[in-house]
Symmetry: C2
Subunit: 287 residues, 2 copies
């Protein structure tokens, strides 16, 4: 919509409206052009995985005693202002990742959604989990980094809200993208039938077996459910990430991947997003 550098135009069409003449408008919206099509988003992803690898090498690579490693999973009783972490002891070291748009790009599902128009359809997503295993790709940087981490002795564990009932197909999708192996109940944790969407319960189970030295996700809930407490305003939720005791974790144990296409961050009207003290009116329009 706006191009401050003056050199570029957004070439796109809108797909969230009902198709005017029966045929949906078959153009990806800008957030999909960005995430799935741009070199900028690919660079962000490569950078996030590189930051994870460098962090583990620089911060943990030189520890003489692995019991000095620090878990990055919040322990029960934590608050955002008073975070406490699991103790690691002699547990084996692991990295915990979300799957969708963190390690795996759901290209087939998203292209189908654009071509079809309309909003999110949970039943269609369930069919995608069951049948789309060969229509995905790895997030740039993910496959190489996970392979390197496994070579270095870290266990790679996925914690996802995909359904446990499609575990075999999710394993196949991870394998297809070069991200595996993953074994349900050990290195793959999925959402059970009727289970809530929070991930803290599964994170706790993982943290009891492993020293989780790094986590990666595209949603704040991939790090702690505390970010998604009800009645948190848009502005407050944003500030929770950058203005609290948790801020120092980004790039240092917690690694964020880009996803402007869907998720808990996409909400808010003008007054939620733009603070009153920053509002501006074009002086030309005042005349």
């Amino acid at each position: 919509m706006t191009a401050p550098d003056g050199s570029t135009l957004r070439i796109t069409s809108l797909t969230a409206l009902p198709p005017p003449g029966g045929q949906p408008v078959a153009g990806p919206p800008p957030e999909m052009q960005y995430l799935y099509g741009s070199g900028e988003a690919a660079a962000l992803s490569v950078q996030a995985y590189r930051a994870m690898y460098s962090f583990l090498r620089n911060e943990l690579g030189h520890l003489r005693d692995k019991r000095d490693a620090r878990s990055v999973v919040l322990a029960p009783g934590s608050t955002i202002e008073d975070p406490r972490f699991y103790r690691c002891g002699a547990l084996p070291q692991a990295v915990v990742l979300d799957i969708d748009e963190t390690a795996l790009l759901n290209l087939g599902f998203e292209a189908d959604a654009v071509a079809r128009g309309g909003g999110y359809d949970a039943a269609r997503w369930a069919r995608w989990e069951q049948t789309g295993a060969d229509k995905v790709a790895a997030v740039p940087g993910a496959a190489e980094t996970l392979a390197a981490l496994r070579r270095d002795g870290y266990t790679v564990i996925f914690n996802s809200n995909r359904a446990t009932s499609s575990a075999a197909q999710t394993v196949a999708a991870l394998d297809h993208a070069g991200l595996g192996p993953a074994v349900l109940g050990d290195t793959l944790w999925l959402r059970g039938d009727g289970e809530a969407s929070g991930k803290d319960t599964r994170r706790a189970k993982i943290a009891e077996r492993y020293c989780v030295v790094a986590m990666a996700g595209d949603q704040l809930g991939d790090f702690t459910d505390l970010f998604n407490a009800p009645a948190t305003s848009v502005r407050a939720r944003r500030n929770l990430t950058s203005e609290t005791a948790l801020a120092p974790l980004w790039g240092a144990g917690w690694f964020m991947l880009p996803n402007p296409v869907y998720g808990s961050g996409l909400k808010g009207g003008l007054d939620d997003i733009f603070p009153p003290e920053t509002r501006w009116t074009d002086p030309q329009e005042k005349k």
Copy 2:
């Protein structure tokens, strides 16, 4: 539009269409909700600046001879497949950053654009540069990191396509956001009247005076104009970042900030963005 985790809905309205009844729809589109409103995007930004600081500390902090530092600016004659870098010698070390959506969030301009509707207007942007200096905010993580880098002895230099004619107002905007100081021609390089949008010319001038040990931007052109060669397909441009000799620079000298709102990465139709081998059709629809 799509919410694989099943737990979230996009709450938004569309603003790029002509207003139906004369009044624009006053809701930020999803890419603005993400960049300016989400904790996820704030985390990405904090992480990028943290990665920059850690890189400089870990890679350069221990150099006994500063002449061993490596420039991250491509030298003349470089190609993407055969990148060569400036020599540093004894030049003072510097970090070079873009301004808009790299160090500074243009909140006032973007909110006005949403409320007004319609596309990008270069004349309005020019008026924004002239009058919006107090309607901006720092990108999360930027102010603290730039201050720390200056304390550590690095020179912080801005290279932007903002107009030289509004240099004073750009300095004021940087100061307002806590990102200054910046001095035109030394630590602030802007686009001259009639000058092209590429940044290589100014980058070369900076690299002759400083050893540029890190760069940050939200567009590929903030790193080298080679990414924006004409006739590069969407897919090829994406692969240039992640599948070439330049890929190892992300997070290790080159630092990308998120921006799905505008820029050179926002282009392409379905077939450009989604490779044919990843196309999927919901099996239910086939029946």
